[in-house]
């Protein structure tokens, strides 16, 4: 079951190197039975301008989110989206996308909520593939629909809700937004009333590690040693203790979730997808401002 892992030596140090594939590995395996390639971008039109041959498009907004409730699709919705794209439950799924795989990591995290076992990221994402001059096509594949099973979403293992975070205060929290978002400084824009959250700042005790620090200039992940120097040495996170990551709506923190869980091998990592758009609008939750984690209130 599943395609062989990429044995690229640059992945060898990661805790779970089998969660990454290189552009070379993907180019060599394109078209093989049992491999599904999925493009997931922030920009809904980007796939149409050209994509990796055989890749299907999955949009975070229209395919993975429930259209009414603020939640992900349910088991039936996920099964329908994957069946339509010809993906089977035991396929090796390789996801890639724009912006350092930001949305690809989000899609991977949602696949994980549904327990899809073999799901991997293309290291460097769309930009790395294009930078190497590899083939792109505008031809949209028409895969034979599959019968992806309806699997109940498991929200308990890798997803945190607001109540979970409130009960977790004092534990390891990572805020992956930019520095001004973390400090609560207002980024005022003329002719444009600030939207999104009524309060600025961060969850008390949260460490600030902007998500893109985990990526190199070319969009590929930093080496394990570099990642450890950021998350372990600089921020003092303990891989054996639980950690919750958050951002604004849970997408950027999916990227950090991937880094902590699969590259650094943290045992228990959750993504708080309500993130700042929930916390910063909630009544009577504690907030810290400024560039320090701040005092954690006594419970």
């Amino acid at each position: 079951m599943g395609l062989p892992a990429d044995t690229d030596p640059s992945f060898a140090d990661y805790a779970h190197p089998e969660r990454l594939v290189s552009t070379t590995w993907l180019a060599e395996h394109l078209g093989q039975p049992g491999l599904a390639v999925v493009e997931s971008n922030e920009d809904v039109l980007l796939y149409s301008t050209g994509h990796i041959p055989g890749a299907v498009h999955l949009d975070w907004h229209t395919d993975l989110n429930d259209p009414v409730t603020r939640d992900y699709v349910d088991g039936a919705g996920f099964a329908a989206a994957l069946s339509q794209r010809g993906i089977s439950r035991d396929d090796t799924v390789v996801i890639y996308g724009d912006k350092n795989n930001w949305w690809a990591a989000y899609a991977l995290w949602v696949f994980t909520l549904f327990g899809h076992e073999d799901v991997r990221l293309l290291d460097g994402g769309r930009a790395a593939w294009i930078a190497e001059g590899r083939e792109l096509t505008t031809e949209v594949p028409t895969p034979q629909p599959t019968e992806y099973p309806v699997v109940e979403r498991d929200d308990a293992s890798i997803r945190a809700f607001k109540e979970d975070v409130l009960a977790f205060l004092g534990g390891q929290l990572v805020d992956v937004r930019s520095a001004p978002e973390y400090s609560g400084e207002r980024t005022t824009m003329p002719d444009y009333p600030e939207e999104g959250a009524l309060r600025g700042g961060h969850i008390p005790g949260a460490q600030s590690v902007p998500w893109a620090r985990a990526a190199q200039e070319d969009g590929r992940f930093r080496s394990r040693a570099e990642l450890e120097s950021i998350y372990l040495q600089e921020k003092g996170l303990d891989p054996s203790q639980p950690v919750i990551a958050y951002c604004r709506i849970g997408e950027r923190s999916s990227h950090t979730w991937f880094v902590l869980r699969h590259l650094l091998g943290f045992d228990d990592v959750k993504n708080y997808d309500g993130s700042w758009t929930e916390w910063g609008n909630a009544v009577r939750v504690p907030i810290a401002t400024g560039d320090q984690p701040g005092e954690v209130p006594q419970r």
């Binding site: 809904v44 039109l45 003329p190 444009y192």
Partner: protein
Amino acid sequence: MTDAELPGAFAAIVDDFQALTEPDRLQLLLEFAEGLPDLPERYADHPELLEPVPECQSPVFLVVEVGEAADGADAPVEVFLSAPRESPTTRGFAGILTEGLAGLTASQVLAVPDDVPHRLGLDRAVSPLRLRGMAGMLGRIKRQVRERVAA
């Protein structure tokens, strides 16, 4: 949604979008992205003359020129926008604004209703963040027009 009227060219663009199914609307948006003209040399070589649009998730820059007229309100407006090819949705919105505002006077640009991004029928297919980006572009265009008319 208000019923404020759109200028002719802009209204025609909205009608074109409304007449299509959702996938075809995205295709049309892609055509606008491909049709966004390059900046003229006087701006291409001088990025410092352009205003960034931080509401967009991608690097978008714009500048507005307002011509001479006895009454500033009648002065012709020209809008120049740049957006990267890697961000076709944003480019598409820039293309719609460029075409929809072409040939309008200052008072006509200022009268364009602010809800125009939501009249294209893309609210479901395109993330709200993107539509806010278009609103951000329009808001900044109007502010530049007001500043230049007052100057």
